[in-house]
């Protein structure tokens, strides 16, 4: 199956060779640093962007949405490490995110622990569970792997929904006991702190991922994605590398769960459902499988659309349309699902892949005048 993955992805990173990467390493980071700096300054900007956002950039509502976008952008990146870079199609990534969300919420609300202790517990659980489940699931490959991961995630979903131990709150979910949280994470006026936390998390995941995929094991992940048998022939054991990829991405996802639970103020069973992993898959493919910034962009864009389309569809223009149009348009998942199908069929490289089309060429030439070109980057 790994051969079929070729058509889905392009990899601009691995090709230029070590030398070029080293030479322009810092120069390449400049756009990213600028983006992060601008994002970090947003809570101080009382600018209003009509249509795009409902209020001023510094208003809690907008910051909350942006923080959500960042968390899911980072989460999509963790999934991309697994699917896009190692070629492991998991249908259970939601489980590890949900693990972070629920362990934190249970430790704080049910056990009455401090946030710090809860995060500590989450990190331990978020490391042990992926090691155990990853070790089991990776004994089988391809479709069987997809199914085992789906099954484990489904077990988690059932556990949360049925709630046999009276911990998870079942369908109702579990609100975070805000009394036990540090003051800066409580209340609408402190949204900016959670936002910065989300931004910090996104940066952390990006830096770790960048480092991981450029590291020696990271290169082997990509080799496994391209052709696992060849890796074995060289004399390497793919199992350990795949497990490492699984554990790293799952652990980061669990950390994302901590940020999410602080942002949303509680745990709800929606994030444990298989559909949630499918939406992660949609995010990654939307942005561009096997690219770091593409996955983040896909996650951000998906989350943004999923939230904003609801309010847009309630607007007068859409409501005035005949029922045949207005009803489907009021379901964000319909639009996103349809968009996803179109992308897979006609633009398998996602947004990141658009660079290799005619439009991308023109854009790059435009940008080329501003930023010195990276040689050899488009050979992939």
């Amino acid at each position: 199956m790994s051969d079929d993955l070729d058509t889905v992805r392009r990899d601009p990173v691995s090709d230029p060779g070590q030398q070029t990467a080293a030479r322009s390493g810092w120069a390449r980071a400049i756009p990213a640093i600028v983006v992060v700096a601008v994002l970090a300054a947003l809570p101080f900007m009382s600018v209003r962007i009509p249509v795009v956002f409902s209020g001023e950039l510094s208003s809690p509502g907008v910051l909350n949405l942006l923080a959500l976008c960042l968390v899911f952008g980072a989460l999509a990146l963790t999934y991309d490490l697994l699917f896009g870079f190692t070629g492991l199609l998991s249908f259970g990534h939601a489980l590890y995110f949900a693990l972070g969300v629920y362990v934190t919420a249970i430790a704080v609300t049910e056990f009455g622990w401090s946030l710090l202790a809860a995060v500590g517990l989450t990190m331990v659980v978020g490391l042990i569970v992926p090691i155990v489940l990853g070790a089991i699931s990776l004994r089988v490959g391809d479709i069987a792997f997809a199914m085992v991961t789906l099954a484990f995630a489904q077990a988690g979903h059932i556990f949360v929904m049925r709630d046999p131990l009276r911990l998870t709150g079942g369908e109702e979910g579990l609100a975070l006991a805000y009394q036990r949280l540090p003051g800066i994470f409580v209340g609408v006026f402190n949204t900016k702190y959670v936002y910065w936390l989300a931004l910090g998390f996104a940066v952390l995941v990006y830096v770790v991922s960048r480092w991981a995929v450029d590291s020696r094991p990271g290169r082997i992940w990509q080799a496994i994605r391209e052709n696992e048998q060849r890796v074995e022939v060289i004399g390497l054991e793919p199992y350990g590398f795949k497990l490492a990829s699984f554990v790293v991405s799952s652990f980061l996802a669990a950390l994302g769960g901590v940020v999410y639970v602080l942002l949303v103020g509680g745990a709800h069973p929606g994030i444990t459902a298989a559909t949630f992993t499918l939406t992660l898959l949609v995010m990654v493919v939307l942005g561009g499988t096997g690219t770091l910034w593409g996955a983040v962009l896909g996650g951000v864009l998906y989350t943004y659309l999923n939230n904003r389309l609801v309010s847009l569809s309630n607007s007068a223009t859409v409501q005035d349309l005949p029922d045949v149009l207005s009803r489907p348009l009021s379901e964000p998942l319909f639009i996103l699902g349809a968009l996803f199908v179109v992308l897979v069929m006609f633009f398998p490289g996602g947004i990141a892949g658009l660079r290799d089309t005619a439009v991308g060429d023109r854009l790059r030439r435009l940008l080329g005048r501003l930023v010195p070109a990276r040689e050899g980057a488009d050979d992939g």
């Binding site: 993955l5 089988v140 391809d142 949609v282 699902g337 199908v341």
Partner: protein, 299 residues
């Protein structure tokens, strides 16, 4: 004893529903290596179209005739949708398995959302004839008749599919394709027709499963397909991808185990244990025998 009989027959009824969904999934995967996430949508479409036409067929009463006509209509629409999905989406992505899986994922999300948009997320009462809601006494246990209908339909489908696969030319092509697709193509046989056919058959079975799920539980909702699909996947994997017999055995195994465990674990205050045990069974089967109970060599 009464409880045991009730659990057994209810479990078999559930197994019938699982088999209806799993049979199509298994054949599609066996022949085309496509893991069809859109299969749940075929099921939901079947259920909703049966319900929709039944609401408009009140002039022929509310008895068996209306039920049969409604289910037949729902099944036809389900088959048409399935064939269309193959022709429009899957066909264009031959040779790209991940792409095919991704397309079915997108269709599953969009299809469910579309049904939700048209008929709201609320559950609807599924119209079935009164005799189906009544019970029949078996060894002292009162069993709702809809269970027997589910079991009977699944058995009929199993027999029908076996006959189709064994004794028709198309069946032969499908079996040969599961065994060795490149060879069949090399012999100059048009396998793509078989692809559409298998999708249509899968659509029939799933849509039938949807209508019967409606009769079984009394209500239908847009998420029903996705819920049942997970267990159908588990059944397909345990049975062995591509094997009809394996799917049938696994469906019975999963249905019974789920019912027994769900009921008897309640004594210990554990709810939902049956669902968890089924997942555990899947993990064990995959690790001990990755190709499934009756599957061809490891996939």
């Amino acid at each position: 004893m009464t409880t045991f009989v009730l659990l057994t027959i209810t479990g078999l009824g559930l197994a019938g529903l699982y088999f209806l969904v799993a049979s199509g999934l298994s054949m599609i995967f066996g022949l085309m290596d496509v893991l069809n996430f859109a299969h749940g949508v075929f099921l939901t479409v079947g259920a909703y179209m049966s319900w929709w036409i039944a609401e408009r067929l009140t002039f022929i009463g509310s008895g068996t005739l209306r039920f049969v006509v409604a289910v037949a209509f729902g099944t036809l629409v389900g088959a048409a949708v399935a064939a269309l999905v193959e022709l429009v989406f899957i066909r264009r992505l031959y040779g790209n398995h991940v792409g095919q899986i991704l397309v079915t994922v997108g269709l599953a999300l969009a299809g469910t959302a579309l049904i939700r948009a048209i008929w709201t997320p609320d559950a609807r009462t599924f119209p079935s004839p009164t005799w189906m809601g009544e019970t029949t006494s078996v060894l002292g246990a009162a069993i709702p008749n809809s269970r027997f209908v589910a079991i009977g339909t699944a058995v009929a489908l199993y027999v029908g599919l076996r006959l189709f696969l064994r004794h028709t030319r198309y069946g032969l092509v499908v079996r040969a394709g599961v065994e060795n697709r490149p060879m069949v193509t090399a012999l100059g046989i048009n396998v793509t027709q078989a692809f559409t056919l298998v999708f249509a058959i899968g659509g029939i079975a799933a849509a039938l499963g949807g209508a019967l799920t409606g009769a079984y539980f009394g209500v239908i909702d847009p998420e029903m397909g996705g819920r049942l699909l997970i267990f159908a996947f588990i059944v397909v994997i345990i049975g062995g991808l591509g094997s009809l017999r394996g799917a049938a055995i696994a469906a019975v195994l999963v249905g019974l185990l789920q019912q027994y465990a769900n009921f008897y674990a309640l004594d210990f205050g554990l709810s939902g244990l049956g669902d968890l045990i089924v997942v555990l069974l899947l993990a064990v089967v995959l690790l001990v025998r990755p190709q499934g109970l009756a599957g061809k060599a490891a996939v």
